[in-house]
């Protein structure tokens, strides 16, 4: 059984005069790392909100079709129920952090769901160690850098032991080193069997880790496949997707009759292919 299943799902926000999602069909299995990309305003954030039930439970509107997450129809289950299945990491961690220090922040979710205090304590310690937060333990979120805040936000999501992590441009406010650190953490979670759905424009940063790219445009899914298959499509450039520069060099060379044999996603891969060919 797939972990996430969109069945002809359409959604229009209350008060809007257009559909944010149009007859979306999408199936995601356990353990996948799916990058959702596409022009701004194409429905990526709405898709994320749909997976943890914020759409339609919090953001109301017109719905057609169904979304099943771990067998649960999001029409019938509260966000609190869905939160233990799918955790959502926002773009701005400051919009997500609510308590006065890191320990309380991580404990907040499970405490609210009535998890046994001994177990909550255990999860807090485990996550402080996993995400290297020991030195921040007593700090107020506002005293931390953006990258540190985002690590705390991820920890607070993981405290609910979800099967799925949905992250909506989690690194766009971070400097490149901190962005890389957060993306490495997410890739590491995926290797430990977490299903990851990540929204990102900067495909040069995430394509190497992703098992699949879903390309959206105007509320629809317009392409779906492995990064190497999707990123060479002209469609990507037509709708404005940020194809990695190394992949663009490959395409450009191919148009000039030079075939490097396989599609590079990083600068190193491009260099290796050129060295092999020369």
């Amino acid at each position: 059984m797939p972990l996430i299943e969109f069945q002809d799902f359409s959604f229009k926000y209350y008060g809007a005069d257009f559909l944010a999602l149009k007859k979306v069909n999408l199936t995601i299995s356990e353990g996948e790392y799916v990058v959702i990309t596409g022009p701004s305003g194409c429905g990526k954030t709405t898709l994320c909100r749909t997976i943890n039930g914020l759409v339609p439970q919090f953001h109301r509107g017109y719905i057609a079709g169904n979304v099943l997450v771990d067998g649960k129809n999001t029409r019938d289950h509260t966000v609190a129920e869905m939160a233990t299945i799918a955790g959502l990491v926002f773009q701005q961690p400051e919009n997500q952090l609510v308590t006065l220090n890191v320990e309380k922040e991580i404990a907040f979710g499970p405490e609210n769901l009535g998890v046994d205090p001994v177990e909550v304590r255990h999860r807090v310690e485990e996550l402080i160690s996993l995400l290297d937060l020991e030195h921040l333990r007593d700090k107020h979120p506002h005293e931390m850098s953006g990258g540190e805040q985002q690590r705390v936000a991820i920890a607070s999501i993981l405290a609910l032991k979800p099967k799925i992590m949905v992250a909506d441009e989690p690194t766009s406010n971070l400097d490149p080193k901190n962005a890389e650190l957060i993306l490495d953490i997410i890739a590491g979670l995926n290797k430990r069997d977490m299903t990851v759905i990540l929204v990102e424009h900067r495909l040069d940063l995430v394509s190497k880790d992703a098992s699949r790219i879903v390309l959206m445009n105007d509320g629809r899914i317009v392409a779906d496949g492995t990064p190497r298959n999707i990123l060479v499509k002209d469609l990507c450039q037509e709708i404005g997707v940020g194809v990695p520069k190394a992949t663009l060099v490959y395409k450009s060379l191919k148009n000039r009759g030079i075939d490097l044999g396989s599609v590079p996603l990083t600068g190193e891969e491009l260099a290796t292919l050129v060295k092999e060919a020369s």
Binding site: H201, I239, V241, G267
Partner: protein
């Protein structure tokens, strides 16, 4: 011309955000300011339009210390687009948001309307003119904030992280608008982590760390310096990494190549020559 003379600033008197920044910005320049989260970039640009004032040192606009000017007076010369659009947007339609600044600055309603329309078109917002900014996506809200300032064509345009949430096409549209404004003589200053955006569009880069300027000069040399890359928490662009690696085997390929077309030509030469 803007001159910063030994500018110091601390938010609460304890944490020093700027410690002695000196900088000269000539009219018509395109400058990128880069650095780690917390390096002082945003604090620096807020000194330019008077949102923050130096605790020590001076900011001089065309020979006059800006402490003589109010923020409103400085706004006539210097337009700032903040990092978070939600700190800037407050009206209930995109069009009203753009017209607001134009009217405040005294543009006639006819002129304001023309500028509003062309800016919305250039930034791909024309179909959203009647929407409330609060119903738009993050990337779209960011472009509305940009449009509200770009439309006024200030002499000095300061953009804090303008590429956040923008797809490749929108980024290119934005770059084109900035180049056009620059050709009309406007000074353009961006704060950004987007190294490719800087390489392609900004001839001068100021690198900051811990509230000081650690490098200032032509982008190609500032960003070829590994120490700067490291201290600014940047990562070298893909094409630079590729060029370096190819250079190790083919020393005649420059290891400092950063533009796609250059690297492509070099690869063609290496492969066809081989």
């Amino acid at each position: 011309m803007i001159i910063l003379e030994n500018v110091h600033f601390a938010y609460d008197g304890i944490y020093t955000a700027l410690q002695g920044v000196s900088l000269q910005i000539d009219d018509g320049e395109r400058i990128a300011i880069m650095g780690t989260n917390g390096a002082g970039k945003t604090t620096l640009v807020k000194q330019l339009n008077g949102l923050l004032r130096p605790h020590r040192g001076r900011v001089i606009l065309d020979g006059i210390d800006t402490k003589r000017y109010s923020v409103a007076e400085l706004a006539r010369h210097i337009g700032l687009v903040m990092q978070n659009p939600d700190h800037q947007l407050f009206l209930d339609s995109v069009e009203k948001e753009i017209l607001f600044g134009l009217k405040q600055l005294g543009f006639s309603s006819e002129d304001a309307r023309i500028r509003c329309e062309s800016t919305l078109l250039n930034l791909g917002l024309d179909s959203l003119a009647d929407r409330s900014p609060f119903t738009l996506s993050g990337g779209e809200r960011k472009r509305v904030a940009l449009a509200s300032v770009l439309a006024t064509e200030p002499r000095v345009l300061v953009l804090d992280e303008p590429t956040i949430g923008q797809d490749a096409k929108q980024k290119e549209n934005l770059a084109q608008m900035l180049r056009d404004l620059n050709e009309k003589g406007r000074t353009v200053i961006v704060v950004t982590h987007d190294i490719e955006f800087v390489i392609e569009n900004f001839p001068r880069t100021v690198a900051m760390a811990n509230g000081t300027v650690i490098a200032d000069g032509p982008t190609s040399s500032v960003l070829s310096n590994d120490d700067v890359i490291e201290r600014c928490s940047l990562t070298a662009p893909q094409l630079t990494l590729a060029a370096r690696s190819i250079h190790a085997i083919h020393p005649d390929v420059s290891e400092r190549l950063t533009l796609l077309s250059n690297l492509e030509e070099e690869i063609v030469r290496v492969l066809r020559g081989a």
